[in-house]
């Protein structure tokens, strides 16, 4: 995590947004970010755990994992290109 702390993490709070809101928010954020940036989407929608990794893989970005919190998930993706 010490490595990660130095990196720029942009948090998108999409809690309360329903499918496909969190994925659409992530896509918008990726467009506005620099290569190497990490985007962390906060989502209460269960579908995000499935859709976001699939999209990241197809779009050529790196899916970094999901951190489960009380009532929501923090889903991280690194912009690769």
């Amino acid at each position: 995590m010490s490595e990660e702390k130095k990196e720029k993490i942009k948090v998108i709070d999409a809690r309360g947004s329903f499918c496909p809101g969190p994925l659409m928010e992530l896509i918008r954020a990726i467009k506005e970010s620099e290569v190497g940036d990490i985007i962390e989407v906060w989502s209460t929608d269960q579908g995000s755990q499935r859709d976001i990794p699939m999209w990241a893989q197809k779009a050529g970005h790196e899916f970094l994992g999901v951190i489960h919190e009380q009532g929501y998930d923090r889903i991280r993706v690194r912009k690769k290109k």
């Binding site: 947004s17 329903f18 499918c19 496909p20 994925l23 659409m24 896509i27 990726i30 467009k31 579908g47 499935r50 859709d51 699939m54 999209w55 197809k58 779009a59 050529g60 290109k81």
Partner: protein, 386 residues
């Protein structure tokens, strides 16, 4: 002084809520105790679901438009004015020619296509999201006799989520009937990993696409379009070539809500999912496509929501507690061929379980298109099934 109810927007939701209130409050209105005013810049009311059907000659454009005044109850005032600003704190709607004070407000300003969100979109393709574009698409389909026809969703949310699926299914039937289907490659292009937002429906749609030999290109988020080269590029790095592109444009909320500081980033009004109050205001409501609710942007949702809001405003005027809640009910026909449709009925807690496509649903969909003017828009059905 009468208590004033102002409805901004004379589309499906605005017209139904005004008529429903007019029925409930008839004696109060004629006795001067209540006044209902609808504000809309257009003198005409358009039945937007027709835009999908006009290109296939299933409906005619003259069936899709009526004067708004002819639909509103006589007791409802109609101001053909453009709302410029809504001040929720001071209870004022400012139009291009007046300032309207209200006691209760209903915002029913709908959704509008935003072609500026995708470079090249405006010149690139065809769509069925305005009256003019629906007519242009009818011409284009009439001329098209072979090549790649792509149906692309360029942004979510948009009005009538099943519409692009219906378009591609209708195109399959239409060209089959003309005897040229084997010369046309049909593709359906969608931003998500499945062809529809709701998983169960997506599975059924996927099977039908396969049966009808329609290509599905999923996880394709449109980045830009080159109308000269006839190419669509995606954020995921793909390039899609086409001969005829039918593109569902990204949508946003109305200018008046975005200019009044009421809307979220997407242009939608933060709305309580049960009471339909604009969040933070018990004297202001939002219904239909204008809201940020997690339901389809569809006329049936606006109809069900209108009943909730009309009941609660009536109760508030009578000093009763507003007790009706919206349950997220939506009811949409989904055409699967010329002569076949299914129906999606769902709410916040119950996903749709569509029956197998059949002629009865298709027939009822067409009948309903005609009933809209005499029953639904008049506010006579509003409230059934909420």
């Amino acid at each position: 002084m009468p208590r004033k109810i102002v409805v901004v927007g004379g589309g499906t939701g605005g017209t139904i809520v005004a008529n429903n209130l007019a029925h409930r409050l008839y004696s109060e209105i004629v006795n001067g105790k209540v006044e209902i005013t609808v504000v809309d810049p257009s003198a005409y009311h358009v039945y937007q679901p027709a835009w999908l059907l006009i290109p296939f000659r299933i409906m005619h454009q003259n069936e899709a438009i009526r004067p708004e005044r002819s639909l509103l109850a006589e007791t409802v005032k109609f101001r053909q004015e453009k709302a410029k600003r809504i001040d929720l704190n001071n209870r004022v709607v400012e139009t291009d020619s007046a300032k309207l004070q209200y006691d209760f407000l209903v915002i029913a300003t709908g959704a509008q296509p935003d072609y500026s969100q995708v470079p090249g979109l405006e010149k690139a393709g065809y769509d069925f999201y305005t009256f003019d574009n629906s007519l242009k698409l009818r011409e284009a389909l009439g001329r098209f006799s072979g090549g790649k026809l792509v149906t692309v969703v360029a942004g979510i949310p948009f009005k009538c989520p099943p519409a692009p699926i219906e378009f591609v299914f209708l195109a399959d039937s239409y060209f089959s009937r003309l005897g040229v289907r084997d010369k046309i490659e049909l593709s359906y292009v969608y931003p998500l990993p499945r062809p529809f937002t709701i998983q169960g429906v997506a599975e059924e749609v996927g099977k039908l696409m396969e049966q009808k030999k329609i290509n599905m290109n999923l996880l394709f988020n449109v980045e830009s379009i080159d109308p000269e080269k006839k190419e669509i590029r995606s954020l995921e790095g793909e390039t899609l070539k086409y001969d005829l592109a039918v593109i569902v444009p990204p949508h946003t909320g109305a200018d008046v809500v975005r200019n009044s500081g009421i809307a979220d980033k997407g242009g939608w009004i933060p709305t309580d999912k049960y009471t339909l109050n604009v969040k933070g205001y018990d004297d202001a409501y939002a219904i239909g496509d204008a809201t940020d609710l997690p339901v389809s942007k569809a006329g049936s949702a606006a109809d069900f929501e209108a009943a909730v809001v009309a009941t609660n405003i009536h109760d508030q005027l009578k000093g009763l507690a507003p007790s009706m809640r919206y349950n997220g009910r939506v009811m949409c026909f989904m055409t699967t061929a010329i002569g076949e449709a299914t129906i999606l009925i769902f709410d916040y807690d119950h996903p749709p379980v569509p029956p197998p496509p059949n002629f009865a649903c298709y027939w009822y969909k067409l009948v309903y298109n005609r009933m809209y003017w005499t029953i639904t828009a008049k506010g006579l059905l509003s409230g059934f099934g909420v």
